[in-house]
Subunit: 216 residues, 2 copies
Amino acid sequence: MNVLIVYAHHEESSFNAALKDVAIDTFKKLGHTVTVSDLYAEEFQPVGDERDFTHQLKKDSFHYRKEQQHAYKNNTFAADIIREQQRVIKSGVIIFQCPMWCFSVPAIVKGWFDRVLTKDFAYGKDMEYKTGGLNQKTALLVMTTGGPERIYKKNGKHGSMNRILYPITRGMLAYCGFKVLDPFIAYEVENISAQERQQYLTRYAKKLKRLFPAGF
Amino acid sequence: MNVLIVYAHHEESSFNAALKDVAIDTFKKLGHTVTVSDLYAEEFQPVGDERDFTHQLKKDSFHYRKEQQHAYKNNTFAADIIREQQRVIKSGVIIFQCPMWCFSVPAIVKGWFDRVLTKDFAYGKDMEYKTGGLNQKTALLVMTTGGPERIYKKNGKHGSMNRILYPITRGMLAYCGFKVLDPFIAYEVENISAQERQQYLTRYAKKLKRLFPAGF
């Protein structure tokens, strides 16, 4: 099986990097192949605009989604979008690994959604939810938070994590057809002990082994 | 009253531009002052990283939020962040005007949240929700969709619009202290008639006049 990890953290000493490395290691030991889209290192550009296209744009009025459809049909996306879409096509599982910023993914990941999961490729007419363009694939969101778990409970001050992530898990990923697994959230990673961090890494590796055994 | 419109659309012939222009016109007639952060035109850079800071970064490990706190305390943010924070400080009302992309704001707006609404400025210790840093201000989300209103109802295929916008309205804006008004959503703007578009613009102008009368 091929796995794509869409990874967004600046720092190789971060806990996000540790989670990413555990995933790589676990998948490799299971015989799977891993590709990492390392968004900051690759200087992924998250703004969807005319730079996304190599074809002549419609003159009178720039319409991003229509140009995306044109580009998908005519293979005229910019090189980075083609690269990311090819990585998606090749992969059975996509993991999104990033910290929670402002109750969502950082802009660099949001831009990956905007620019890569385009109409007619990932969703479209008669292509949504169960019939979405990526409905043979599985998605897993793996995120870290600054705050403790209790504030992300249904009766916590922020409301439940499921509710916060709904536009991504249901809205974006399920809409494109992905089978969306329960997110793996490591809470309060800056404040917890080294032992607690290790417990998260161990739990994460176990989860991956259970979900994607050798020969999956 | 000063109003800031954080505006994200590429195209001056778009319906987003029309909504933005109606707001400018309405506010001016009411005697208010309007500033527009025209994110695409100003080439706003949405990736939060080391370019956000003019101070010497901590050497061993880059920690974005900690560097943001340091920059806020020492006035060492990059020029675009200082400019946007000043615009926020000056304004009693902030309108976010953009299309819905992937069940959220486009990455360029998400990056504005990430980079501008920083810790200790917009939220922080003992600064959240009612005590948030921006708790004297009002926020209004004005968005357009491709799809019709019925699919954004509680029993529609996407679930309710309130649920989709929750991480922004409650999570991001209310958390920073904003009084968050009911979003103004113009549905299916590409498919509706010129008359229906005009009705949206008229309704929007009326809403603004009612909410922010002269002398507000």
